[in-house]
Homo-oligomer: 121 residues x 2
């Protein structure tokens, strides 16, 4: 960071592009947040908690998070099948940062809304 921001930005190793872009999708942050809050959860539990995520997107999101090493997935060979998800230490280490962002969002939502309204005119 600091003064090397130019190099930093254009580099293909830029952490912002490589990592944060991953959370630019619609659900990743929410899933991490939910798992951080609740601990271990089953697939349908996550689905219900978030509410309006489709099965497909939740699957895709969980797979991506698993690939990134943020979420662990444990399948129990039972009938009916049971699959439990929880955050890895890596995922857990991310939670406070997301909480901070969420808190910021919460604190400033009013001002942002006001600004958006004004801008319409």
């Amino acid at each position: 960071m600091e003064k090397n921001i130019e190099k930093f930005m254009t580099s293909t190793d830029c952490p912002v592009r490589n990592v944060l872009d991953r959370f630019g999708d619609k659900w990743s942050i929410l899933v991490v947040l939910v798992l951080g809050e609740k601990g271990t959860m089953r697939f349908n539990e996550i689905n219900k908690t978030i509410g309006d995520v489709s099965q497909k997107m939740l699957t895709v999101t969980l797979r991506t998070l698993e690939a990134d090493g943020l979420v662990s997935r444990q399948v129990f060979p039972e009938i009916p099948p049971r699959v439990e998800y929880e955050l890895t230490h890596l995922g857990i280490s991310l939670v406070p940062h997301i909480h901070n962002l969420a808190a910021w969002a919460n604190d400033n939502l009013g001002e942002i809304r006001t600004s958006r309204e004004k801008f319409k005119v």
Copy 2:
């Protein structure tokens, strides 16, 4: 937060959905980061610093950030025209949080990459 996460998640007022979704686009975070680093900047300056953003997307991104009240836009009626952008106090207040995230990304990029490689197999 805390225990009301269910309500929190499903609410249409959920700050995560309303605010953070806004930064899910490809460039907003980068623009805020760059402006936070450099202070006041002209359009082409931002364009060059980021490197591979198209003129169109930079315009759209800046307009959105302006609408949200994170960035201020000042036009100087000269020829050739000059337009300067800088963060508002709201935008500035967001920067540290993004820095934290970027730092996290930087610290854990290696581990995430390793995990992604492993997952391929």
